[in-house]
Each structure stands twice: as structure tokens, then as C-alpha cells.
Symmetry: C2
Subunit: 412 residues, 2 copies
């Protein structure tokens, strides 16, 4: 047991938001507000930039009822940023400023809620504070729909995006099959480097056939093979639905979305219309089929109305555990998950070294992709299905979502 | 009271599907299965083409539990078509064939579930059967997310699409405001000729500000005004969200989505990327802002997981009333709605002449659009809010929708 450390806590959010990032923040805020040792709970306005700019939100000024709505409210409620903090050995200006602010508000607890870059920020701040001898505990609270964080079984935020994708794909599949004249539908999912989100489209196949092919960035994209796959399927079934990751790339590493292919534009211009439209148009040219390109776009990361309750609860647990661990003396860790799927699904919080998380990216396992490289196998469903269980408890007002409305009172 | 007419019923679905078109079909099927006079209930496989091709589905062969899931299942469960029946004075081949099939199966009741064209089909069949002296009652059961059918207060299917649009816009608005560096977001909604769907984006503003501008096809689009509107808003607020109808057009009638503007492509090529991407890119060029173009695409017409319970119940009522009226002797009508919003919302079924519905299109009222032509006023919200109330009772299975699975047994 470490000795008691009295002081304030700052929670910041960073990077692209998710449907449940505020469930994690709420886990931190609620637990911190209830902890005797934590004298004050601040939210950093727009992540680490809020600290640097001395823009701290007083969480104890917020109405309890609004805070309680945070777990069901999408997008970073405290505001996010994409500010990349420098290496302290190169330039320690930011760190000096952070230390100044920490001292000003007597901050002894710092939680940062985000992806790889945020864990890197966490790690650097933690190391710096140790170096200058400022007593402060630092914890990373993960968030990323991309599901690409090292170590943890999965990332808070992924499951809700996956649930939205699977649900939308099931609905689109019904729509695409409605006419006796078939259609080729290309659905584009997020995921620049990892295929986790696009793979979620295959969950739609669990009970009824929806998706014919799934193309992930973990396999080099081969346009000829893609055209052959889809053409054959369309010829056989009169219909074909494809899920494709925005990050699919050729063997040379160039993104398909940025490639200047003669097939898409006779003049060799890059297409503005996104990957789904490009691939759909190629297939129209090749087969004469009616086509649709659908980009799930931002909707997949903010569709809180379709969030997974499991995801919400686990995200909350991650934030709560971060504070509980800091109170026990833990620092310099990220609260991820360790899961068992042997006798039902069980998920426990597990601590990971920030330094490890900051520097690795977890790809979709090659052994969960079929030999042809155009679909995922049942191991993935075993992994992902438990994560998307349960429905959000999002309140409705006038038939529309009732999200948390924070007052955002700044500290003096 | 008309005398009792014993015989079979055919229900067909036509045109683009909606989230609740099967709620109407279920209203017809359930009521018909329970009616003593109706000897057999058939579903036309892919609309009128199912009749022409003698492909009729036996609805009494389906499991009750699956039929009961129809109201929560998107897209035309019986299959749809876009077949336009000829004028019988020009070519009566199709009508002779329909009569032949009606006689073969002793069909005395015919319900067609669709939009303007379907009401036209209904009307022509009804007139032909009268002309040749075949005793048959014909009813139109409306469906269209476009909400453009004449006479009726609103159309089954519109409210669920509107609810999905308003919900998605609220979620995207949260996401778009997350960074301290702002963004211009262009959200494209369906509606080639009428602005009802795009107007639904403004419902998101009821409780919190989400959308800054709404551009409907009822107002000629002025690119300079659009650029000025959005630039000024972005300059002032550092953020701007726009909803735009796919059908916006210039004063000369040409669609903005098809226009070859120098601003979007230096070589004057039409853009493949859709209107949202085109307008977003124009604003990026003009302001340097980060931009996002989001096309709600098919999702808005098939997102049954976000359907309005009011819409589901009214759609069911429309189908149920169609059968009840036919049993009373009514024919040649469409079952629309008459609503009152004075003391709470009340919606009653009302019959409209098929001939009237077939030949008119209901535009979004000019007096519900502001003087500048870039937003809608509060009269629209008064009209639309009651329609989107209540949540679907869609079952979930493994965290995903459990839609109806029909056996589809064909009649011999």
C-alpha cells in the first residue's frame, strides 16, 4: 500500500471520439468525485491543450443528472485535440507548462482518455514528472474504435462501432435484395491500418447471409482478384455485398483510395468520391450491374443510439479502475482488458505499461482471415460477438436522443 | 353495405423500400388472414411482376411468429419491383395476364403497397377490372420515405427515415464539434424532388443547435449564396453543419450533383463522389476549413433499428384499414391519414381517390422555408415531431436485429 496522496485530478480526452468515450470519462469523474483523497476534479478542455492553455472545467459544478447521461453521450464531452507533445529531451517547454499548471491546481492525478498517441502523451508526462520529482500519478484510459491498442483484449469504443456496422450491414443487405434485378453494394468502413472495424461487417452473417466479401488492410489488395471475386458472385447470385476497409492498399503500400486508376477516370485523376464509390463504379463498368457505394463515414464512430451496453459498461469500468488504482499508488499504466470466452464471456480490468502501448499497433490476426484473403473466419465472431451484446440505455426526448448537456464552468 | 365477396387477396409491394413498409403489409396480411370472406392470402413476389409471372407466395404457410416480426423488418419482405404498367388503351397485354391470374386464384381483393407509381398501377388495374366486369376490390396502401403523396397528411415510412436523419445529425453534430479547430460538415439526404427528408435534419435543432443551414429542392440553389452562407457561419462560429437534399438544382433545373463546376474539378468532369463530397470540397477550397461530406445513402430508408413506433403503428393501421374497407365494399382508394395537432396529436385513416394520388406530387410548403431559402421554420417541427415519437420494438438476437425470416412458399 502506498501512502495517501491528497490533490486534484485532471481528466483529458484526445484523438478521434467514439460512442462511449464519455462512459470512460464518467468512470473517472464519478469515482474521483466520490473519493475523499481527490480534492477537486477537473476536465481538460480539448485534451492536453486545455492543460497548456489553463482551460480547466470544474466537474463538481455540473448537475449530477447531466453527468449521469455521459455514458450514453457520443463524442468527447470535454473536447478533444490532436496535439502531439514533443519529446522532452528535444523541447521541454510543454512539460514545464504542464508542471506549472499541475502545481497551480495542486494536481496529483492525471488520466488521459484516448488511443496510441494519448498513451504516448501519458507516458511522457509521467516520466517527466518522475524526473523532476513532482509526486503525481498518471493513468491511461484507452479509447479507440480502431481496436488497435497493444496488449488489451479489445478497446473501449470498438464494440459500439462494430455493433453499428453489423446492424447497418444487415439493414442494407435487406434493402439490396429487394429487387429481382440484383445489385453490387460496396460498404466502406473506417480503419486506415487495421481491419477490425471492417471485419465487424461479417458479424451480420451470423444468422443470415449478408456480406459476400470482406477486404482488410492486413492483406494486400489485388484489383484483378477483387473484380474476379465480385463478378463471379454477382453472376452466380445476381447480387453481391462487399465490405472494404478505407485502408486497403496495393502490395506497394499505396492506398487503393488514392490510386489513379484508368478504370475510374480516363484522365488519371484521383477520385474525390471515396473508396466505396470508386470500387462500385469499377464493378459497374465490369459487370453492367446496378451498384451502390456506401461510406459509413463518421456515423460509425458517433452512433450512440446503437451503442453496445457491454462496451458502455466496460468503458466505465476502465475509467473507474484507473482512479481506484491511482488511489492505491499505481502510476504509469493503461487500464485495458483481459477476457475469457471459455465458459461464457468474462472481462476483467488489466494494467499495461504505457510505454508498451504507446509504441505498438495491434493488427487483425492473419489467421482469422481466410486463405483467399477476402473474408474472415469464425474465430473472429467468437471474439467479437460477446462485445456487442446489450442495448444502450440512452434516454429519448421528443423521439430523439437526450445527450448530456454540460455547463462547462472554467476554473479561475 | 355491399354484399359479401368471397375470394383470395393479393398484396404486392413496389418501388423503393422503407423501414416500415412491412408494417403496412402486415396490416393487410394479418387482417386478411383473420377475415372469413378472404379465402386465401397471397403475397406477390416482387410486386406486380410476381402477378404477371405467376409467382405468388402463400402467406398462410408462414409461421405466425415470423409474420409478427414483419412490422419491425425493413425493406419489402415480399420483394419489390420498378415495373411501370402500360396504359391499357395502348397495350392491354399485362392487364389480360393479370385478369387471367386473378381468375386462376379467384382473387377478389388486391392491395398494392407503394408510392405514386404504385397508386397509378392500382388505379389502372381497378379501372380495367371494372371495364371487363370482373368483380374485384382494389386498394392502395401508401409507402414512401419521400413523403410526397398527394392528400394524405404524411406517408408511412417518412417518419422513420426522418427520425434516423434527425438522430444521425445530432450524433454527427457532437462529433463535428469535438476539436477546437472547427469543421464544415455537409450531410446529404435523399429527396430528388421534395425536401421533406432533408428538412428532418432541422428536427435535431429542437433541443440543441446542430444544423446551421438546410437546402431543399423547393428553392433554386445559388452556389454563390451557399458559399457566402457557409463561409460567414464558419468564420463566426468556427464550425458549420449543412443539410442538403440530393435534389437541389440551379434555377435552370440542372441538378447541382450533376453540374460540371470548375471549382470541383479543373478539367470540368462531373464528379462521381456525390453532392456532399462535392460541396464539402468547394467549401474546403473557399475557406481552407477541414471538411466532411456525409451521404446518408440507403441507410436512411432501411435503418429499422431506429424506426418510429408511431410510424410503425400508423403503417399497420393503413394496411388494416385497406382490408376492412374492401370487406365493406370500398374500392379504388388509397388509405392515407388525416391528422390533428391541436390538442395533442391524433391520426385517423382517410380514403383518397387513387386517380388523384397517382398524378400529383406533394412538395415541401414554401411557407415553411425561411425567406432566405436556407432553412425551415418552426411550422415544420410542429408538423413532423409527433410523427417520430416512440421506439421500435425490434427484437435483438446476439446483439443484432432479429428480422422476420419468411419461408416464401409459392402457390402451385
Amino acid at each position: 500500500m502506498s501512502e495517501t496522496l491528497k490533490g486534484a485530478l485532471i481528466i483529458g480526452q484526445s484523438g478521434g471520439p467514439s460512442s462511449v468515450i464519455n462512459a470512460s470519462a464518467y468512470g473517472v469523474i464519478r469515482t474521483a468525485l466520490d473519493a475523499g483523497e481527490i480534492t477537486k476534479v477537473y476536465g481538460a478542455n480539448h485534451g492536453i491543450k486545455g492543460v497548456l492553455n489553463d482551460k480547466l472545467l470544474c466537474m463538481d459544478e455540473e448537475d449530477r443528472a447531466e453527468l449521469d447521461r455521459l455514458p450514453y453521450t457520443p463524442s468527447s464531452a470535454l473536447g478533444s485535440c490532436r496535439y502531439k507533445i514533443k519529446d522532452p529531451d528535444v523541447d521541454d517547454t510543454d512539460y514545464k507548462r504542464i508542471l506549472e499548471i499541475f502545481k497551480k491546481y495542486d494536481v496529483r492525478y492525471f488520466c488521459y482518455n484516448g488511443g496510441n498517441d494519448s498513451m504516448d502523451t501519458c507516458n511522457k508526462i509521467s516520466k517527466y514528472m518522475k524526473k523532476v520529482g513532482y509526486d503525481c500519478r498518471v493513468m491511461g484510459v484507452p479509447k479507440t474504435i480502431d481496436n488497435d491498442l497493444f496488449g488489451t483484449d479489445h478497446c473501449p469504443g470498438y464494440a459500439s462501432a462494430a455493433k453499428y456496422i453489423a446492424t447497418s450491414v444487415m439493414e442494407v443487405a435487406r434493402d439490396a435484395q429487394v429487387y429481382d434485378t440484383g445489385m453490387i453494394t460496396v460498404i466502406e468502413c473506417m480503419g486506415r491500418h487495421a481491419g477490425w472495424l471492417t471485419a465487424a461487417a461479417a458479424l451480420a452473417n451470423e444468422k443470415e447471409h449478408c456480406v459476400d466479401f470482406v477486404y482488410l488492410p492486413e492483406v494486400d489488395f489485388d484489383m484483378d482478384k477483387f473484380i474476379a471475386d465480385v463478378s463471379e458472385c454477382y453472376k452466380k447470385n445476381g447480387n453481391c455485398i462487399v465490405a472494404v476497409s478505407e485502408g486497403v492498399h496495393y502490395a506497394d503500400g499505396s492506398f487503393v483510395s488514392e490510386a489513379k486508376t484508368a478504370a475510374t477516370d480516363g484522365f488519371g485523376h484521383a477520385q474525390l468520391g471515396g473508396l466505396a464509390a470508386t470500387l462500385a463504379n469499377i464493378m459497374k463498368e465490369k459487370t453492367g450491374a446496378k451498384v451502390r457505394g456506401i461510406e459509413l463515414s463518421l456515423l460509425q464512430r458517433c452512433a450512440a443510439h446503437c451503442a453496445s451496453l457491454t462496451d458502455i459498461e466496460e468503458s466505465f469500468m476502465s475509467g473507474k479502475t484507473a482512479v481506484e488504482e491511482m488511489l492505491k499508488g499505481t502510476t504509469d499504466k493503461m487500464v485495458g482488458f483481459e477476457c475469457s470466452r471459455e465458459n461464457g464471456y468474462e472481462c476483467k480490468a488489466k494494467l499495461f505499461d504505457l510505454a508498451d502501448v504507446a509504441n505498438f499497433e495491434k493488427k487483425f490476426p492473419r489467421e482469422w482471415i481466410n486463405a483467399e484473403g477476402n473474408n474472415v473466419n469464425s474465430d473472429f465472431a467468437k471474439y467479437a460477438l460477446p462485445l456487442i451484446q446489450g442495448e444502450t440505455k440512452l434516454e429519448k426526448e421528443d423521439g430523439m436522443p437526450r445527450f448530456a448537456r454540460l455547463k462547462k464552468v472554467f476554473a479561475e
